[in-house]
């Protein structure tokens, strides 16, 4: 009897709670914007970004959105875009697709942003794709090099910026064939689409390795795992090691190699994702002697290159608007994406709509000024951003100098399929005066 009565009460309570839940839900999320396009008013444009601000993936990447915001603030202080000020809503996804999905819902449905900019992570962007597509929200300059995102059919409103990992591997393969023929090369890579994209690229380039060592993302902090990498490298007899991992993995590999007495015995070649010297220096100071002389692929200028006009201008803005953050590759990435966004918004004209924004990128995007050395490939049929890399030697001070000497950049360009790798010289649009686009 008692059992029966309490369940009945339970059902009643459940009913009340459920109705209450919906009553709460029924409250309007936000007042409607009286402009023809979502997220745009006569004097504002609202943009959104999702990045890991907390959790193990946060370090380094958590600087990107604030650098971007600093650049927008700078533009706003100089008149904004066609009289509109840009605001950036920053959401933490802790590098979890579940959270990315729910904060993206918030950005699109509650904050009602006009567009997403620089959203980070391959799986995280995948998780939000369907909804972003359904709503037709422009997703500009995603912070991942997964080649899939350049597929304009599958991701019609998504625009890649980074050269793909596939391209990077192909370029690196031809670089290895050119400069390290006859060497015994081992590969350490992250065992997901990031690494697999690269593996496919190396396969296309015909590169052969004496050892291929996969690691599960997140396992690179475990000493046992690092120990295994090093024994495998030593066992393979490799004299050259290519690393396709995040910064923590690169640092762990270099640190582990130092501990195993491999300093000076191996030529390290680092993929762009994990090659930010500032980050590696903080992660593993002991790795410094190994970092010195390592070769890294990059598509942006080195943050330490004070002679580069983009770096110089971004450093100035960073000093004034970014609350004392150290200028590193992550800050450059944030500012660079910010500047591209401003040009895209300008190009879309005063009567700003999502469709016009995307059309503007497709028609004029390839001419936008940006810090990247490789040309931008956006067009009606392709959403590929940069398509090439240069190789530089890292110094103990965290600098990165082109192999042929300071200022002598040699660019390797290619595509995400079977196209050849070509060497090119740098032809980059000049930095707009004071870093303010006038397109």
């Amino acid at each position: 009897m008692l059992v029966h009565r309490s369940t009945k009460r339970g059902v009643f309570a459940a009913t009340i709670a459920a109705v209450a839940a919906l009553a709460v839900s029924a409250l309007p999320a936000q007042a409607f914007t009286p402009h023809s396009e979502i997220g745009v008013t006569a004097n504002t444009i609202k943009l959104g970004i999702t990045v890991p601000l907390t959790g193990s993936a946060a370090p380094g990447y958590n600087k990107v959105p604030y650098a971007m915001k600093a650049y927008f603030d700078y533009v706003n202080d100089n008149g904004g875009v066609n009289g509109r000020k840009i605001s950036l809503v920053i959401k933490d996804d802790a590098y979890s697709p579940i959270l990315a999905k729910s904060v993206t819902n918030d950005l699109i449905l509650k904050d009602k942003v006009f567009a997403l900019v620089g959203t980070l992570g391959t799986a995280n962007n995948e998780a939000t794709t369907k909804f972003v597509n359904d709503k037709g929200v422009p997703r500009l300059f995603v912070n991942t090099g997964y080649s899939g995102f350049a597929n304009a059919k599958k991701y019609p409103s998504t625009y890649a910026l980074f050269p793909s990992y596939y391209m990077e591997a192909k370029v690196m393969g031809s670089f290895l064939a050119e400069k390290y023929a006859g060497h015994k090369v081992a590969l350490l890579y992250q065992d997901d689409d990031f690494g697999l994209d690269a593996l496919a690229g190396f396969g296309q380039a015909g590169t052969s390795f004496v050892a291929k060592i996969p690691y599960a993302s997140g396992s690179q902090v475990d000493p046992t795992v690092i120990g295994k990498w090093i024994t495998s490298i030593v066992a393979s007899g490799a004299d050259t090691v290519v690393v396709f991992g995040v910064s923590t993995a690169t640092a762990a590999a270099l640190g582990g190699a130092y501990k195993a007495g491999l300093a000076g015995k191996i030529q390290w070649i680092l993929g762009s994702v994990g090659a930010d010297p500032t980050t590696i220096k903080t992660l593993a100071p002991t790795a410094l002697p190994l970092l010195n002389g390592a070769i890294a692929a990059s598509f942006l200028p080195s943050a330490s290159d004070a002679n580069d006009e983009y770096v110089k201008q971004f450093a100035e803005i960073n000093a004034k608007y970014n609350k004392g953050a150290t200028l590193d590759n992550n800050v450059l990435v944030g500012m660079n994406a910010g500047m591209l966004t401003v040009q895209a918004l300008r190009a879309a004209g005063t009567n700003l709509t999502r469709a016009k924004l995307m059309a503007a990128i497709e028609s004029q995007g390839s001419k936008f000024a940006s810090a990247g050395f490789a040309p931008l490939g956006w067009s009606k049929t392709s959403h590929v951003g940069y398509n090439g890399y240069w190789f530089g030697k890292l110094g103990a001070d965290g600098s990165q100098t082109p192999l042929d000497g300071a200022g002598k950049y040699v660019l390797y360009t290619t595509d995400s399929s079977s196209g050849a790798v070509a060497k090119a010289t740098i032809a980059r649009p000049a930095m707009p005066a004071k870093g303010l686009p006038t397109n």
């Binding site: 599960a216 295994k228 090093i230």
Partner: protein, 298 residues
Amino acid sequence: MLILDTLLIGLSSGAIYALMALALVLVWRSTRVVNFAQAGQAILSTYIGYEVMNRTHSYWISIPFAIIAGGAIAAFIDAVIMRALAKRSHKGSVAEIAPVIATLGMLGLIRSLTGAIWGNEYLQYTSPVSGKGYLIGGHTIPFSPQNTVIVVGALLVMGVFAVIFKFTNLGLALRAASFQPEISRLAGIRVDRIRTIGWAFAGSAGAVAGALVTPTSYLSPNSLDLLLVSGFVAAVIGGLDSLIGAVLGGLILGVGFAFILQYIGTSVTFSAAFIILIVVLFVRPRGILGSKVGRRDA
């Protein structure tokens, strides 16, 4: 050679797991609580050690401060949170999971707190002891002076607490209070205070773990996350009640893990601990040194 290297890799990381397992066993022994906040507490005490090191420029001076801080943090958690919890939810089906939840909450709290104070950046807490492996006959073995420090640290923590538990009145009171709190009270033992001391001991042991392990990598609010699970698994393998078991559990986990990675492959990295645990528990459901009533083997 590879087998020997793998063994050494396993032993050096096993010692790290062992240190964390020791702290978990200490809390379990004194309060019958599995403390999920342990890794978080160790992080916080290590941050305090980091601050001291920044001011004194000495790793060695910072360690005792970290240990004291670790003890104080743990004592605070017990006196303020666990005591209130024991009073309010000692009965019913929540009784078993309430402490688990509370310590998980503490873990989150400490993580957010350290993040809010020091940021989510990676910081360096460096030891003057070399992390470079010993050179033996032209071969650098994967075992370094810092690994030696960790192993010695683990053995020292185990030894000190074994002596305390076995030979002192405080140890006797700790054991009595954990096994039979009410009878202990009737014997005149201030059980609340004793439990807090037990937490403080565990916090100090965890602080030792944090201070010795962090120099092998870096310091961030999440940097000991991996130890949360592997330390716990090591403690369970060892039987939860036994200090020697914790050390053995750590070493078994470390060595087992190293061999699995070396000879089966890295794709089972995250599953390896689970596999080892299942194998051990299948043979001995109460861990290798856990006995039926959780006895006094130190």
